[in-house]
Symmetry: C2
Subunit: 300 residues, 2 copies
């Protein structure tokens, strides 16, 4: 990857992150009255945070099908709300008990546990409210499918199911198949939705929808292996959260099972494989290909 | 209210509760794999519990418009999942820290805090997944509106917003208007959805939808005043949860502001007012009228 190519992606990511922040700020108004505290907490955790990779994937996937960028951004923001709610709950004392997220105090540290719990709950509700709103897309069948897919990806058979497995991971003997399944549930399903949502918005033929799903599958695993590598090799200040926790907890990871070098090679291989699924889209999928290479080389 | 009339309602409630339990059991399957723990917790809290008043309201309201009873039951179950998730999170140590719910250990007592947190999260996702599913109603516009309305009623502007206010209630000086607003958010919005969902499913004219909304408004307040009365006068064994908590916490309630007798009279008045909103439906709304009278006389 040449520095020039990387610049193109980083600029596109930054522009997308700014658009996501604007839209999220608009979608999360703060009412008067004492309930404003939970809205402040929602905004604290949902605004100005992270790479906004998931909404970027949605916007990029949607661009392959001439979808209105506003609609794609809206759906990306709903997805990001689910991601943010999961981070808030994940950081709570009964889960990972983290003090730091993206270099700032976690939501329950900045507010309190009850407020953080409620902020996560309300962000999840808000995500579905946004997806179901007429202003997101004129066709109710499209909105309904988005709601169903995101709810399925986020729930007990998807992200939350993966978190449940992860909580028991230290007590289980997990091989590569188990870890792969865990990570596909915990992080893969939302990344899958991010890409598939573009196809749903664009009423894409099933072959192209499947191509994006396959891309997301490999991208998600590559992303997770890179995350595991960062967890053992990353810079805590730069990453903005506590590292080395999986090893401390005695959990198997891609890196503990494969070793650093083999894991790195596997991540690169998956990124290349992800790109090949994008062949049917030709040059239009250029940024999605750069994204696949980026997730395995990022240091944040 | 004659004993005979009450029997009719109690029989209808019991039949509905049985139907809700069957449908919930069907809607909450338990997968293999270590994620089953969160599904066990979801079922523990969502099955065989409570009067199932909210789904009953949905089924009864829907019956006024010739809606398929299966569709109404499905929507009622989705709503009940949101209600159950809110109870699980409400019982957590960082919120009410309750050990007992419906006479059994609360979810985090039976499992653990992290599992209870995730079970609540997954129940919320599942509710929207069920509402958005084609099998719930053939018209995606109807399903979308149900998703939007439930998400709005449950989120930061509704139930969760009300919980946020409630958490600060002991520190605030609240008058009747404040308490009414708090309770309309915390419990009123979901009861409002319960009734309005019947009208949405039946594509009811707006005048009849409004009549049901007004009924729900008065019913919800009557319900809450009755709850406050039970909190000071009820039998802990019979009610199945700890009582007297509001007074212990120094929170204003309808009873602390109005006194027992005045509060009782207010609840009765609201129940009668609720019934009058049902005039346009004639005898078809008989069970909904009995319900309004029941909620202010119940001992559980």
């Amino acid at each position: 990857m040449t520095p020039h190519v990387s610049d193109i992606l980083l600029e596109a990511l930054a522009a997308n992150a700014a658009a996501v922040n604007d839209e999220m700020a608009h979608l999360l108004p703060v009412p008067d009255g004492p309930e404003r505290r939970v809205h402040d907490a929602m905004r604290y955790s949902a605004l100005d945070g992270g790479k906004r990779l998931r909404p970027f994937l949605t916007v990029q996937a949607a661009s392959l099908f001439n979808v209105s960028p506003a609609a794609a951004l809206r759906v990306g923001c709903a997805l990001e709300m689910v991601h943010c709610y999961s981070l808030i709950h994940d950081d709570l004392p009964c889960m990972d008990d983290d003090d730091l997220r993206r270099g700032r105090p976690t939501c329950h540290r900045q507010f309190d546990e009850a407020t953080a719990l409620l902020a996560g709950d309300a962000l999840q509700s808000r995500a579905f409210e946004v997806l179901a709103a007429e202003s997101t897309h004129p066709d109710p069948a499209v909105r309904c499918e988005l709601v169903w897919q995101l709810a399925h990806a986020a729930g007990g058979m998807g992200m939350v199911g993966g978190q449940m497995v992860d909580l028991q991971a230290a007590q289980l003997t997990m091989d590569m198949a188990d870890i792969t399944r865990l990570q596909q549930m915990k992080t893969g399903r939302l990344i899958g939705f991010a890409c598939e949502a573009g196809a749903i918005l664009g009423k894409a033929p099933s072959s192209l929808r499947l191509a994006l799903k396959n891309y997301a599958h490999d991208l998600g695993l590559a992303f997770q292996i890179a995350d595991d590598l960062l967890d053992v090799q990353g810079d805590e200040m730069q990453v903005g959260k506590k590292l080395g926790k999986d090893a401390d907890a005695g959990k198997a990871t891609f890196v503990s099972l494969l070793g650093v070098e083999h894991a790195r090679a596997q991540a690169d291989m998956l990124a290349e494989q992800a790109c090949r699924h994008l062949d049917p889209f030709g040059d239009a999928a250029h940024l999605l290909r750069l994204t696949a290479r980026y997730v395995v080389t990022r240091s944040v």
